[in-house]
């Protein structure tokens, strides 16, 4: 039997979706693949097979061990086994025979080589017992674990909100080799007040939760993030916890469900190492990630499942969130406004108010009680976004426990009065007069025209109240804003627009073309061409593969009388429109014209 041949034939019959899934799952590297034979070869290549085996759990491996040592398995009645076999088939590790399943040679060889590499032998896979489970902890310090868990839950939900806010302000860059760029990692860690090590975990979970997405190399927030931000702390936690639960492999999840009153950590690792005997490093990384994220979310605290974590594993996210909500600090809807222009919420501020407050103040610290600071800049931003002195005062009066202090009141007036005194307008493509700076206050324009800071902008005064420059509007805008001039930017129609310091790419994500999809398209195209140009090409490829593999084939030949005859050949070469092969039965060398070969199949 030639595994490659039969697999190639089987691959040719798969639909696009199954093919893409198989490629995505089985081929981590990018071998050169031009047709189904190449693909079959790549899938049965030793490293690729080993890669496929490492992610299998013990029940699946035990089935493979049986197939490897005892030969094909007939379809049985065990539903679990049937499901496992089906899954192994989807991974192209075994294939259907008429009445059951057979293992590919390459897979068997790999499995049989395991004992030499320190991995379990087929016999061990079939007989080894799991490590003894630890006895459940006698008395778990529930309240302490739960309190710590709720602290973590609160902190991480807050941190995720900060993460989204920060990404909104400035997207983060993903490096070519994977992972966030160092400065972005640090920036996000600072915004979230977490260790830099925890940022990748947070990003991973945020991506799974659909809160962030990648557009090319840029990490951006999604629409779902906005909805998520509108929820209460408990609601936000619930969605993160649900995401976490979904991200945990079903088999591991089942395992965890049996360990809700036992510490994770080392004991869990031992069990998992038994359960996934060949997994090694990748599994360790996966487990570390879900453990780290569980600690982050308060599903566990110091390796012990919290009450909410237990509820999550046993009854799902809704029950867990209910448990967690009872432990989270109560939200407040009033804040203190102070003379030093700080705004302090004496507890977690309701998300809607928090969002509104952020429009007109900078966040200074996020914790149980958060501090915001109103600055000229933050007010300017709010005014640019459509707020007025009246709307700002109305909001602040509504949330303040203590009225509006005079310095803040003054600042609001000042900001409104100053806002837009200077306008910078985009004039379109005219290179010399690309941007106009104008103001009703000729004094201000005079000051700008002599200001040393703007010397490099080459501003030319064209009237009492107008300057022009060849620099872009945004450059001019930021130069003026940084120098504390009351500036607003206008588009070509004179509408006031916000200017971002660094251009973020458009938020509607451009889908990146999936490697598997591309490969399948390539295969289909190649197959179509081959079939159209030469019906013999497919046959020829099949035969070449058989020659290379030195395996016997059943070749069906059309005889001149219209009948067909099967030969069992060990092909030795294809060339000049003929197949040469040794006929074992007759013990002679045969040469068959390709055009008379009707088909080949594995014996």
């Amino acid at each position: 039997m030639t595994s490659t041949l039969s697999l190639a034939s089987r691959l040719a019959t798969l639909d696009d979706e199954s093919l893409e899934a198989l490629i995505a799952r089985r081929l981590p590297l990018r071998p050169k693949i031009d047709d189904f034979f190449d693909l079959a070869e790549a899938l049965l290549d030793h490293p690729a097979v080993q890669h496929a085996l490492t992610v299998l759990d013990r029940p699946a491996l035990a089935l493979l061990a049986t197939l490897a040592t005892d030969g094909p398995l007939e379809d049985g009645t065990d539903a679990d086994a049937a499901a496992h076999l089906e899954a192994l088939g989807e991974r192209a590790l075994i294939e259907r025979t008429g009445t059951g399943w057979a293992i590919y040679d390459a897979v068997r060889e790999r499995l049989l080589a395991w004992p030499h590499e320190g991995l379990p032998s087929p016999a061990q896979l079939l007989t080894e017992l799991p490590p003894a489970a630890l006895a459940p902890l006698p008395v778990i310090e529930g309240p302490t674990t739960d309190q710590l868990a709720s602290e973590r839950a609160f902190h991480s939900v807050t941190a995720f909100a900060e993460l989204l806010g920060e990404l909104d302000r400035e997207p983060a860059r993903e490096l070519q080799k994977g992972g966030l760029s160092l400065p972005d990692g640090r920036r996000l860690a600072a915004a979230m007040s977490i260790d830099a090590d925890a940022v990748p975990v947070a990003m991973w979970l945020s991506e799974l939760a659909g809160l962030v997405a990648r557009d090319g190399s840029q990490w951006l927030t999604t629409d779902a993030a906005e909805r998520w931000l509108g929820g209460s702390t408990a609601e936000r936690w619930r969605s993160l916890a649900a995401t976490w639960l979904e991200a945990v492999q079903p088999s591991i999840r089942e395992l965890l469900q049996t360990r809700t009153h036992q510490p994770w950590g080392r004991a869990l690792h031992d069990t998992l190492a038994w359960f996934y005997p060949a997994s090694g490093e990748p599994l360790r990384r996966t487990v570390e990630r879900f453990e780290a994220s569980a600690e982050l979310l308060g599903i566990t605290a110091r390796e012990l499942p919290s009450a909410a974590g237990t509820a999550l594993l046993e009854s799902g996210a809704a029950a867990a969130a209910e448990r967690m909500a009872a432990l989270l600090p109560a939200e407040v809807d009033r804040v203190y406004l102070q003379h030093d222009l700080t705004v302090v919420s004496p507890g977690p501020l309701m998300p809607a108010l928090d969002a509104q407050l952020r429009r007109l103040a900078e966040v200074e610290s996020r914790a149980l009680a958060s501090t915001y600071r109103v600055t000229a800049g933050s007010l300017e931003r709010a005014i640019a976004a459509g707020e007025t002195a009246a709307s700002i005062r109305a909001f602040l009066t509504g949330v303040s426990l203590t009225g509006i202090p005079q310095p803040l009141d003054y600042l609001i007036d000042e900001a409104v009065k100053r806002y837009g005194l200077i306008r910078v307008r985009d004039n379109g493509p005219d290179a010399r007069m690309r941007t106009t700076v104008r103001s009703v206050d000729a004094g201000l324009i005079g000051a700008i025209s002599v200001d040393q800071v703007f010397a490099s902008l080459g501003l030319a005064r064209i009237s009492e109240t107008e300057l022009v420059t060849r620099f872009s509007r945004d450059v001019v805008y930021w130069a003026l804003a940084d120098a504390k001039y009351p500036v607003a930017a206008e588009d070509t129609n004179g509408q006031i627009v916000g200017v971002k310091k660094r251009h973020a790419p458009p938020t509607d994500a451009v889908p990146t073309i999936d490697r598997a999809t591309a490969l399948v398209a390539h295969l289909r195209a190649a197959a179509a061409t081959e079939a159209a140009q030469s019906p013999e090409a497919w046959l020829s490829r099949q035969l070449e593969t058989a020659v290379k593999a030195k395996v016997p084939l059943i070749v069906t030949v059309g005889m001149p009388d219209g009948s067909e005859l099967d030969f069992m050949l060990e092909p030795t070469g294809v060339g000049g429109g003929r197949l040469r092969g040794r006929d074992r039965k007759a013990d002679i060398e045969r040469t068959l014209p390709l055009k008379s070969i009707k088909g080949v199949r594995a014996p």
Binding site: E151, H339, D340, L341, V344, A369, T402, P407
Partner: protein, 549 residues
């Protein structure tokens, strides 16, 4: 307590909601171990620091008491990390004890073998410990008492110093309480100081730190060395001691750049102590000139670094530090803790203010519009010139005039940074000026005239900032000044915080050129003053009439 006045945050800050009915009790208990960082009107921020915890431990408080305080008043559960941290940190204090053996030799002892071994093997500590006496004891080099304490604090294992003090040469000193007496908190400060050995008393400007010093001297009744920041301050100490104690002029000596007397009570400046001749400290002999039984450090937060080194060798003498703040701009709070001693007394400013001993100052920021010509000049100038231009804008002069007029009859300090501006202000206001160039005698004469009311307006430069009592000033107008330094702001406001006999409330004005760098710096000032709990109002120079007189 659910819904208490405190919010304990995981970064070890503690917020206090001032309006809460239990706020006062909570503040009182919290101040034992947490440092007040900011006190704007509604929410005060305290920070639980290692030194704060050790200070509390030194005063006999246990971690359980501190955590109980937090739990009693906290609105939300105490973050676990904070609880663990507090316990761990507090336990570290007193694990090590510096004391003397039967022969009077210094030893370092600990009941914790592991800790003792750990610190003794530290690179910077090993040379200070010549040999191990037994399982729990190391001998300490006779000269190394201060250095050892410094290093131990750095390692996070502060030692309790029970090695005692030399009594000093006895000298009779009594308080002359005729028509006045020490206030309760001053008595309490003296009492705590003696109970603790050495250490620091923290009191706001104007709360009578000098009297606490005098009280301590009258208790110790021994020869005393007083270290102060400058000569003017030295003379104020002398005058105050003559007025309040039984000491006579013959018993008090001044050791400064001008005069070098050594008497039973000697007042020396930090400057003279750190003066070098040919690379050597020239006046070190002063420290051993007499058998001082008490050393008083005025304004401990300004103690120059070399004096720390000298103080490390003065550990056998009882040391009293006086200051308005433990915060040092150079971050050497740990050295104050290890070399002068733990905090022995601390009264929050506002509390003392509420007792009526210091009058609250109202702070105003007056925004001055630059006329177009000045505005253009400002815009056209280079960055490094801009601050000076904004600070010295002539437009400020009219505002100063109008403020002086508004407060006619009160005693007014006009404060500037630039000599030519001071000159101009002095001319324009027809008021004497006092700068670094003014001689000590002239300075004293001017201050004296100002106190008596002969002079109403005084234009001063930075020199007036430190340690000078001008109790009669009720108005300060800051026209220009260096910026960003919290200490300077505190000093400046301290001028106005002294108890007022006139009953007038104090006003502090800063003039700021609008839309200039001046305004940026003013922002820091506003923040700092508001954080200290002062009201702060921003005014336009054009609407000065709005100021409540």
């Amino acid at each position: 307590m659910a819904d208490g006045p405190l919010i304990v945050q995981s970064d070890r800050t503690v917020l206090l909601e001032v309006a809460h009915p239990n706020a006062e009790d909570a503040r009182h208990d919290l101040a034992v171990f947490a440092e007040l960082e900011r006190a704007p009107e509604h929410i005060h921020t305290y920070r639980i620091t290692r030194l704060g915890l050790w200070n509390a431990r030194a005063a006999g408080h246990r971690a359980e008491d501190m955590l109980a305080t937090l739990e009693r008043y906290s609105k939300f559960p105490i973050p676990q990390s904070v609880a663990v941290d507090v316990r761990e940190t507090v336990e570290r204090y007193g694990k090590l004890v510096i004391t003397r053996d039967e022969e009077g030799q210094l030893i370092l002892q600990s009941s914790d073998h592991a800790v003792l071994t750990e610190v003794a093997s530290a690179k910077r500590i090993a040379p200070l410990l010549p040999h191990r006496v037994d399982e729990r004891t190391y001998a300490v080099e006779a000269w190394a008492r201060g250095a050892l304490k410094q290093e131990l604090v750095k390692l996070g294992w502060p030692a309790e110093d029970l090695a005692g003090y030399t009594p000093g040469t006895p000298h009779p000193i009594d308080l002359r309480q005729d028509g006045w007496h020490l206030r309760d908190y001053q008595n309490k400060a003296v009492e705590n100081f003696f109970a603790g050995g050495s250490g620091v008393v923290v009191l706001p400007c104007g709360a009578g730190k000098t009297l606490v010093g005098a009280g301590a001297m009258a208790t110790a009744k021994t020869t005393t060395l007083i270290l102060v920041t400058n000569t003017v301050s030295a003379r104020q100490w002398r005058d105050e001691l003559l007025r309040r104690t039984s000491l006579t002029e013959e018993e008090i000596g001044e050791y400064s750049g001008q005069i070098k007397e050594i008497k039973p009570v000697t007042i020396a400046t930090y400057q003279i102590l750190t003066a070098k001749r040919k690379g050597q400290y020239a006046h070190l002999a002063l420290l051993d000139a007499l058998d001082w039984g008490l050393v008083v450090y005025d304004e401990v937060h300004l103690l120059p670094a070399p004096v720390f080194k000298l103080t490390a060798e003065l550990q056998a003498r009882r040391r009293l530090g006086l200051t308005a703040t433990l915060v040092r701009e150079d971050g050497r709070e740990g050295d104050v803790f290890s070399l002068i001693g733990p905090k022995r007394f601390d009264a929050p400013w506002k509390e003392i203010e509420a007792q009526g001993f210091i009058s609250p100052a109202a702070c105003y920021e007056v925004r001055v519009d630059l006329p177009p010509s000045e505005r253009l000049e400002y815009a056209a100038s280079a960055d490094d010139e801009r601050y000076r231009l904004a600070a010295t804008a002539p437009a400020k002069l009219d505002v100063v005039r109008s403020l002086v007029k508004r407060h006619e009859g009160e005693r007014i300090l006009v404060i500037g940074q630039y000599l030519d501006q001071i000159e101009m202000l002095s001319d324009a206001l027809d008021a004497p000026q006092l700068t670094g160039a003014t001689s000590v005698d002239e300075r004293e004469r001017l201050f004296q005239k100002f106190r008596t009311g002969e002079i109403k307006v005084l234009v001063v430069s930075k020199v007036a900032n430190f340690s000078v009592d001008l109790p009669e000033a009720t108005v300060a107008i800051q026209v220009s000044g260096s910026f960003g330094s919290r200490q300077e702001e505190a000093q400046r406001l301290g001028r106005l915080l002294r108890p007022k006999e006139s009953g007038l409330s104090a006003n502090f004005y800063t003039l700021v050129a609008r839309d200039t760098v001046d305004q940026d710096f003013a922002q820091n000032r506003q923040r700092f003053l508001a954080e200290q709990g002062y009201s702060y109002t921003i005014l336009d120079s054009t609407s000065l009439d709005a100021i409540a007189a």
